[in-house]
Structures are given as C-alpha cells and as structure tokens.
Symmetry: C2
C-alpha cells in the first residue's frame, strides 16, 4: 500500500504531474527509495552527480559552502520538489549539499534512467525545464534582493518567502513549519545571526512576529510586507 500512496504523491510532484498513471507505475519501478533521518546527508557538494531525487515526504535543505567554511542556505525542499537536477547534465558534480532537516523519504533515479525517461516522455523533460526555470527565477530574485536591499528588508523577504512555502496557520499567526534558527535565517539573508536576532527582537516588540528557540511565527504579514518593500 505504501507503493500505492507513493504513486499518488509522485503524480503530484513538480516533475511528474500530469503524467498518466500507467507511466507513473513504470517511472516508479525504474527508481529506488531512499529514507533519511533528520540530519543525514543526501549528497554533498563536489560529489559526482549520479542520481536525481524527488521528495515524497519530509524536508531537506540545500547549502553551499566556501573554501573557508562559510555556509549559505540555497533553499529548503518540500515534498513534491526535486533534488539533484545537476544529474541531468553529464559529467558534473553537485554544486550544493542536500541535508534532511526532518525524517525524509525520497525516490531516486540514476542519471541514465532519468535521461531515458525524459527522452521517451517529452512531457517529463518539459516539466523539468519548467522546474529549472522556476528555480532560476527564484534565485535571480534573491540576487536582486541581496544586491539592492538593506539587511532588514532582506530578512523580511526571507521570512515572508518561508511563510509562504512552509507556513502553517495557527492561532498565533503563520508558523514556519520546521525548526529555523537565527543562524539559518542569517545564512539565507546574507547576514549574521546577531543582526537577525536584533531585528527579530525589534519586530517582536512591534507584534509583527513571535519567535522562540528555532521557531518563527509571523503574526502581521502585512506589516512585514510594508517593512520589506519600503523604499530606501
């Protein structure tokens, strides 16, 4: 039965949505399952890119590290999303490390397999193009933010994005549905944990957010949007 529900989910992923179920069966049969406990690594920056994965359940984080050990968070991956698209290009290595931040369940395909699937089913290839284009667009926006905005606005946009992607409505407001430290936010917004802490404290005084240890709840999204879109 696990198989059956996997199929349902597979049909709703960004990569395979819209595919007839016969094909999904075939696709699933060609892949392999992978389970990761929170904290385990799916693949590492510099590993040769040999498999492409789709997240079935859980949550993962893609990071990039400099030679001297500084890290940035590229993005968080939710169920339905794709990890390791570098695999689609021959002979390259993963540019980022992907780590589970929650117990996670994925399905993977070897480079050859996924390429064969795409060659036979152009709809999958077209989906992949759309996925990559969306990611590209996303990161382009972050580049723009990082280049033109002040820290407070950047942190604001980061929180708003996370609330959108991984928000859970609660009595207090929209809660970001996974543990998120000040350091994590800093690595996404391109700043330090100190600055994040200070700014979050200020917002807390204004009643805009409500945060705890590795937790952020967004109480007044509109107020935060106002701050984030404010022109210098």
């Amino acid at each position: 039965m696990a198989n059956h529900s996997d199929l349902d989910i597979l049909g709703r992923t960004e990569l395979f949505h819209g595919m007839p179920s016969a094909m999904l069966v075939e696709i699933q049969a060609a892949g392999f399952r992978k389970k990761l406990a929170s904290g385990e690594i799916l693949f590492q920056q510099g590993d040769s890119a040999s498999s492409l994965f789709v997240v079935i359940a859980g949550r993962l984080r893609a990071t990039q590290t400099t030679l001297d050990g500084q890290q940035i968070i590229i993005r968080y991956l939710a169920p339905g999303e794709t990890a390791g698209h570098t695999t689609l290009t021959r002979g390259v290595v993963h540019p980022s490390t992907v780590t589970a931040v929650d117990d996670s369940h994925l399905i993977g395909w070897s480079s050859d397999t996924i390429r064969k699937i795409m060659e036979q089913h152009s709809a999958v290839a077209m989906n992949a193009l759309a996925v990559l284009a969306a990611r590209y667009h996303e990161i382009q926006i972050r580049l723009l933010e990082l280049s033109t905005e002040k820290v407070e606005q950047r942190i604001g946009h980061t929180v708003l994005r996370l609330a959108n992607q991984a928000g859970r409505r609660t009595a207090r407001g929209v809660e970001i549905a996974f543990p998120l430290s000040r350091q994590d936010l800093a690595e996404m917004a391109g700043t330090t944990l100190h600055t994040v802490s200070r700014i979050l404290s200020r917002w807390e005084d204004l009643g805009i957010v409500d945060c705890g240890r590795r937790q952020v709840v967004l109480c007044k999204p509109h107020a935060l949007m106002a701050i984030s879109d404010e022109q210098a």
Copy 2:
C-alpha cells in the same frame, strides 16, 4: 550565403550543438531573424515571454530592475548563448530585460514552435536542460560570493569571469571585449561605482589592470586571483 553561415553557427550554439544538419535546416526555417542595433531592447522585464532567442552575433546584456529603479546586471550574452528561456514555461513573463550592447543578430522561435521542436527532438530538450542547469550553477556561485565575500573580492571575481567569457588577448593583457563602465561592474558585483573606481585605481597602481573609459584590461590574472581568493 548568410543562410549558410547562420546554419554553421546554429550548429555550434549551446542549444543546438550536436544536431544533424538536416534538422538544423528545419529548425532554422521554423525561426525568424532579428537584428538589433546597439542599445536596442530585445524584450523587457514583465513582457509576456513569447519567444526564445539564440545569439548569432553581437553581445547583449540581461538586467533586472527594482521598483525604485535600482538595476543589476544578471549576465552578458555572447554568440551561441540563449536568451528568453522563460518562454519554455507557459504563461509567464520575462524576469529580466535583455538589451543589445553591440549591434546584434539573433534567431528567434515562438513559444509554440520551440516547444514543438523540443517535443520532437529530445536532444534539444536535453541541451536546454543543460543550459539552464549551467545558468543556475553560475548564479548560485554569485549568490555565494555576494553573501560571503568582501567588495574587493567580488569585483575581482567579476572581472575574472568577464575576462574568461569575453577576453581578448592583447599586448597589454586580456582585454574585456566590450565597453564596460565602472557602473556596469558595480551592478554586477553588488556595490557602487565609487567603490569600483577606487579599487580599480588601486589595482592599476599595482599593475594588475589597466583601464580606461569603459574599458578594462587584465594584466596580471594571477595577482587578481590571489586577491579574489584570499581568505578573510
């Protein structure tokens, strides 16, 4: 004869390399030519993405602008490269503006046409995936640089990248083969023209570069690499 040489070039673009020439003829016939004088705009941020282009000759620049008019340069496009890949996703708008910085010659395909080509020829779709993956990787590196490096290193990496992409060997060193103002460099490195000017002056004193009005010649690449990779 122009047709013939276009074909040659088309077969060496990132999108169509490796395709048999019969197919190239077909692909070219399905597209349309577009000429732009220096300064003319190919498409603008926010325009609906209706065509995809390949640069045959010339040079273009992709930029993104904020609501309050601040601009960043996403990248420069050389012959063989692809513009407007957003067109591959249905119902979206161009995230950036593309402008010719030199008289340029392109071939374009409507959204429907290029999708049809990709559906029929999976090799083109796979090329497109490789192109997008490469762009993504590229921009990811810039995000890392922007987040972790100091201005001098960022400018250094920017100049090194440009020298690589568009360098022309001359007696003085490697000359960046298109007009590049301090403002342009600033918009690529995420800083101000003042800072770029100061740092370029310093490098000039050290004999690392030699620059003029809208011109940069890299004389000592290794020295610049040393500066750029220096750890804080």
